[in-house]
Homo-oligomer: 583 residues x 2
C-alpha cells in the first residue's frame, strides 16, 4: 500500500503516530512561515502542516508547486491541532509533514471540484470522471450502493434467489422499441437487448425457482425525455404460489426496509387505492399524496346555470388551493396560460376567490350567484382565504389538466418537500387500453398480466372494463414499481395475444416458448419490478436520475465523455453483413 | 399464499398440524387401498398419503388423474410416517390429505426430470425451463447465488463500492470482436457492448472511488469454442494507491473466503510462480498443480549421441508418468497418435520404460545406452515401474506438446480430482507478444497494463523482454482471474498505443478520454477480474460453465429455447437505417 491510513481515518487517539496518506490536493494555504494542505480522498480530508524551522525548506518548495487536484503522497507525524475544526471528523489533528511526493500532477480542472460547481451540464458530462469527485455526486453513488446492498439483504433474507437472465435475447414488436444486435455467426439475424427479463423470470417460475430476483440492466430505444436513459436498472422480482396480497405485503416490506435501513425512516403502512379512485380523486394513476388538495366534482352543481362551457362538459372538477385567495388577476392569467401550453393543452381555467371577508369572486360571476359559489366551496372544503380552481370538459382530459394544476399548486405552496415521503399502492388497473391511432387494444401493463378472475367474462363483452391483477407502488407522485399476477394458462395467454392483434402464427413465433412452458406444469405466479435509478434518486431527494448513474447518457443517447455511439469500420460492417443507409 | 408451508419444511414436531402445500407431482405410487404422492418444490419433497376408509373416494379419483409434473395444491394433516425415510429431511412425516386441487396439469415432459436424465443437450436447451427443474442444475444456480452473495460480503466488508458501468459503450478495434448496437437516434453510428468495464473502472479510480467492484455481464463476439459463451459474467475490481502485492493479498483473500464460506474448505496460501518458471516447469501459464509430473529438461544429456531429432532440437524435455511402465507398445502408439493430432500437432513422442526389474527400454535404444537412460531417469526422478515421455523441438512448441501430454497423463492417472483444489498466482507475464501473422506487437493482457518499472528501459531495446505488472490466478489448471497494475501516466499510455501500432489520431479518437483523464490527477491503481461463470463451475466440480448459467446459448451463439437471434422486421431495419447484405 502506498498509504498507511486514509484521509478520513486519523483521530486525536493517533497522536504521535507516523502516517502516510495519499490523496488529492483540495487546497493549499500558504502563510509564508506556515503552509497547510487539505488532502482529500473518498474517506475524508486531512490537514497537512509545513512549518518554518520544523519542516525542511525543500518540502515547502515541493508544496508550493502543488496545484489543485495534484495526487500526492505525504508522510509525517500526527499531532493535535491548535485550531480545531469541529466540522471535520479529522478536525482535531493535522500531519506534521516529513516527506512529500507528487504521484501525479494535475492540469487545472475545467470546473470547480466543489459541492457547488461552476460547470454546466455538458461540461460535467464530458469530464464525468471529475464531476464524480464532487461530494454530492459521490454521495449519490454511495447511496445507490447501500440501496443495492439492502435490497439484496432483504431479498436474500426472504429466500429469493438471484438469477442472471440473458442480455442477448429476441426482438418482439410489443412494447417499446428494442435495441438490436446483429449476429455475425447468424448473418441477417439479430439479438435484442431486454426491455425487462419478463419472460425469463416467468420461465424460472415454471422451473420451480419459486422466488427470483435480480438487480438488472434493461434497455429501451425511446426518444429520450429529460429524465429517461436508454439503459436503466430494475429490481426485478417474481414469486410462485402467490396472490396479489402476498406480493403487496412482500414488497411493501422491501420498501419499508429500505427506508429504515438507508434513511432511518419508519415509513407508514402503505395505503391502497384503486386506479379508478386515484383517477377520481387525483386525476392520476400516480398521485402525489404528500399533500391533499383532492379533486371535488362540481358537475351537478355547476350545470344548468347557463354557462355553456360547463353545461356541455362531461365533467366539471376543481381543487381548492388553501390560502391563495390573494392571487392577483395577473397571477391567475399566468396560471391559465401555463395550463393552456401545448404540453398540457387545457382550454381554460375558472377560478373562484374565497375572500378573507367571506365574499366570493369568480371568473364566471355572470352565471353563478354567491350562493352557487358557496355550494362549490362547500364541495371543495374551501374556506375564506382560499382559491378554487376549476376545469371542465371530457372527463379524462379535465382530470389530466387538473392533475397538472394540482401538482403545480402543490409545488408553489411548498407541499412537495423532497425529504418527506408518502407512498401508495394503486390497484386494479384496467387490463387493456384502446389506442385510437392504431385502432386496436393494447395491454396497459404487458400481455402477460392476468385479468381479475371475476372480470374474465367481460373479455367477451367489454374489453375496456376488464380490470387486471396489476399494481403500482407510487411514492411522492412517482411510480417506483409495478407488477402483476401473471397468466399461467396457455389458452388464456393465447386469447390475450389474439385480443392484442397477434395472429396465431405471430404469437407462436414470438412467445411460443412461453405458451409451451405453460403446458408443462406452470405454477400460479406474479411479480414486480422497481425502477432502481428512480428509487435511488427519490431516496436522494433529487428530481433527476442522472446523478445517480455513474456514467449517464445525454438526451440524445450519447455518452459525450467517450463519444459514443460512433461509426464503426467498413470491415466490421462487412463481417456483420450489414450496411448503413445513411447518405 | 396458496400454501402454508413449503415441501421441505414439515417435521415430526409439526405432527397434527394442518398444512397446505403446493408443488409438482414427482411420483404417484398407487397400491389400490393406499396411494402416495411425492410432492416437490424448490425446498424439498413431502409425501402425501391417501388411504382407503380415511380419504374420500373422489380424492383418490383426483389423485389417479395426476401425471408427472402436474402442479397441485394439497391440504391435510401432518402425521408420523410408519415407514420413515432417513434420506429426506421431511422423511419422518407425511400428509394425510383432505383436499386436492390441480392448479395446472402438465403434458409429459420430453425428458426425465431426474438427477440422471435421458435428455440430450439440444433437447435440454430447448426446454431449459424443464431442465432447470432437475436437482443438479438447480443446485448449480443456487451455488452461483451463494458465490455472488459471499463475493459481495467480502468486497463490501473491504470498503469496495459497487458501481454499475454502462452496457452501451464504444467499439474499439483492440482485443476481441465487439457486439455492436445500431443507434436509431444517431443514424450510421453504433454502440458496442463491453468486453469488460476496463476503461470505466480506471476512470472511477481517477474519480477517487478508491475501491470499486461489480459483478457484471461482459460480451465477446468470438467463434465459440465448446465452453465459451457470447455473454459472460465477471467479478470486476479495481483499487487505488496500491502495488501488486496489495492486490494479490486482497484477492487471495476473496478466493479463500469463497472456498471457506461456500465449500467449507480452508484453501492453503496461494503459492506464486513467475510466468517464466511456469512455462519451464509445466509448459503452461496456467499449470494444473493438483499433481506433480513436472518437466525435466534433458537437452544436455540427450544431445551429441547421434539421434538427429534430439541433436537438432532447441529443447529436449520430458515428464515421468509414475507406475506406467506397463504401457504396451499399442498404448504408446495410441498416445503418440493422440499427440500428433492436428489439435496438438506434435511430431512424435519418445518413451523410456523403467521396468520393475530396473532395466530400461526406450524407443531410441539405437542411440542411447542404458547408462544414458539412467541419467535421464535421474533427471526425471523416475523409479522402476515408471514411464518417461519425452518430446523435443523448438522450445515453445515442445513445452506446449508436453503440457498437453502431462494433463492427459494426469487425467489417466486420476490425479485431477475435481473436488481437490490447488491454486497458484502466476506473475511477471510478458507485457507484449509478437503476432507473426499480423507482423506487430500485441498487449498480452491489454494496452492499459503497466510494464515493470525496472523493465521500462527495455521498451527502447527489447520489447519481448519487458515484463508486466500482471498476474493471473490459476486453480486446477484454469485461469480463474487476471489483472494488472495499470499505466496512469499519459506519456507512457501514449507510448504503449504507439508500440501497439496506433497512430496518434487513432489513439486519441479511441482512448483520448482516458489519456485526458490521466492529466487531471490520476492515482496509481490496479485491479483484477474473475471469470464468474468459470469460478462457479470450478466450485461445482464441473468442466462446463453451461450448467452454471440459467439460460445459456449453444455453440452457434443461439438460444434455441426462444429461437434467438432471429430476423427483424423491414420497418425496424428502416428505422435503424441499416440493411442486411445477406442474399
Amino acid at each position: 500500500m502506498l498509504r498507511t491510513h486514509t484521509c478520513g481515518q486519523l483521530r486525536l487517539t493517533d497522536d504521535n503516530t507516523t502516517a502516510t496518506l495519499c490523496g488529492w490536493v483540495q487546497t493549499v494555504r500558504d502563510k509564508g512561515g506556515v503552509l497547510w494542505i487539505d488532502l482529500r480522498d473518498r474517506y475524508g480530508i486531512t490537514q497537512l502542516l509545513l512549518e518554518d524551522g520544523q519542516t525542511s525548506p525543500d518540502l515547502f518548495t515541493t508544496a508550493r508547486s502543488f496545484g489543485r487536484e495534484f495526487v500526492v503522497q505525504a508522510t509525517g507525524t500526527v499531532i493535535e491541532r491548535k485550531s480545531k475544526n469541529p466540522n471535520l471528523p479529522t478536525g482535531d489533528i493535522e500531519i506534521k509533514v516529513t516527506s512529500l511526493t507528487v504521484l501525479n500532477p494535475a492540469k487545472l480542472p475545467p470546473f470547480l471540484i466543489d459541492d457547488e460547481t461552476d460547470g454546466g451540464d455538458d461540461l460535467r458530462l464530458k469530464y464525468r470522471y471529475l464531476d464524480l469527485r464532487r461530494n454530492p455526486v459521490r454521495r449519490n453513488l454511495e447511496l445507490r450502493h447501500r440501496m443495492a446492498q439492502q435490497t439484496r439483504l432483504y431479498m436474500d433474507g426472504n429466500d429469493f434467489i438471484e438469477v442472471e437472465t440473458p442480455v442477448l435475447i429476441k426482438s418482439t414488436p410489443e412494447g417499446a422499441r428494442d435495441f438490436v444486435v446483429p449476429s455475425r455467426m447468424n448473418p441477417g439475424e439479430f439479438y435484442a437487448l431486454p426491455q425487462s427479463p419478463q419472460t425469463f423470470k416467468q420461465l424460472l417460475m415454471v422451473s420451480g425457482f419459486d422466488r427470483y430476483y435480480q438487480i438488472v440492466k434493461c434497455f429501451r430505444d425511446e426518444d429520450l425525455r429529460a429524465d429517461r436513459q436508454p439503459e436503466f436498472t430494475q429490481i426485478d422480482c417474481e414469486m410462485s404460489f402467490v396472490e396479489q396480497e402476498d406480493i403487496l405485503n412482500m414488497f411493501e416490506g422491501l420498501v419499508r426496509h429500505l427506508f429504515k435501513a438507508v434513511k432511518g425512516i419508519d415509513l407508514a403502512e402503505v395505503p391502497r387505492m384503486t386506479y379508478a379512485e386515484a383517477m377520481r380523486r387525483y386525476g392520476s394513476d400516480k398521485p402525489d399524496t404528500r399533500f391533499g388538495m383532492e379533486f371535488a366534482e362540481l358537475t351537478g352543481l355547476a350545470q344548468g346555470k347557463g354557462f355553456p362551457v360547463f353545461d356541455s362538459a362531461e365533467l366539471v372538477v376543481g381543487i381548492n388551493a388553501p390560502g391563495c385567495a390573494h392571487y392577483t388577476r395577473k397571477q391567475l392569467d399566468e396560471l391559465t396560460e401555463w395550463l393552456k401550453r401545448p404540453q398540457i393543452g387545457a382550454k381554460g381555467l375558472i377560478y373562484v376567490r374565497y375572500n378573507e371577508d367571506g365574499s366570493l369572486k369568480s371568473s364566471v360571476d355572470k352565471f353563478y350567484s354567491e350562493a352557487d359559489l358557496k355550494a362549490w366551496a362547500e364541495q371543495l372544503n374551501a374556506n375564506p382565504g382560499d382559491l378554487m380552481l376549476i376545469v371542465s370538459g371530457e372527463a379524462a382530459k379535465a382530470r389530466k389538466y387538473l392533475n397538472e394544476l394540482r401538482l403545480e399548486m402543490g409545488s408553489r405552496l411548498g407541499l412537495r418537500d423532497p425529504y418527506t415521503f408518502s407512498s401508495l399502492w394503486v390497484l386494479d388497473f384496467p387490463l387493456l387500453e384502446y389506442g385510437e391511432d392504431e385502432n386496436r387494444w393494447f395491454a396497459m401493463h404487458h400481455p402477460f398480466t392476468s385479468p381479475k378472475p371475476e372480470d374474465i367474462s367481460l373479455l367477451d363483452s367489454d374489453l375496456g372494463a376488464v380490470r387486471a391483477n396489476a399494481y403500482d407502488m407510487v411514492i411522492n407522485g412517482t411510480e417506483v414499481g409495478g407488477g402483476s399476477i401473471r397468466i399461467f394458462n396457455r389458452e388464456l395467454q393465447a386469447r390475450m395475444f389474439s385480443i392484442l392483434g397477434f395472429s396465431d402464427e405471430e404469437a407462436k413465433a414470438q412467445f411460443g416458448f412461453l405458451m409451451d412452458a405453460f403446458e408443462y406444469g406452470a405454477p400460479p405466479h406474479g411479480g414486480i419490478a422497481f425502477g432502481f435509478d428512480r428509487l435511488c434518486s427519490l431516496f436522494g431527494g433529487a428530481d433527476s436520475i442522472r446523478d445517480f448513474i455513474a456514467f449517464p447518457k445525454n438526451n440524445s443517447g450519447r455518452d459525450v465523455m467517450i463519444d459514443s455511439p460512433s461509426t464503426i469500420s467498413p470491415a466490421q460492417l462487412a463481417e456483420l453483413k450489414i450496411t448503413t443507409t445513411v447518405s
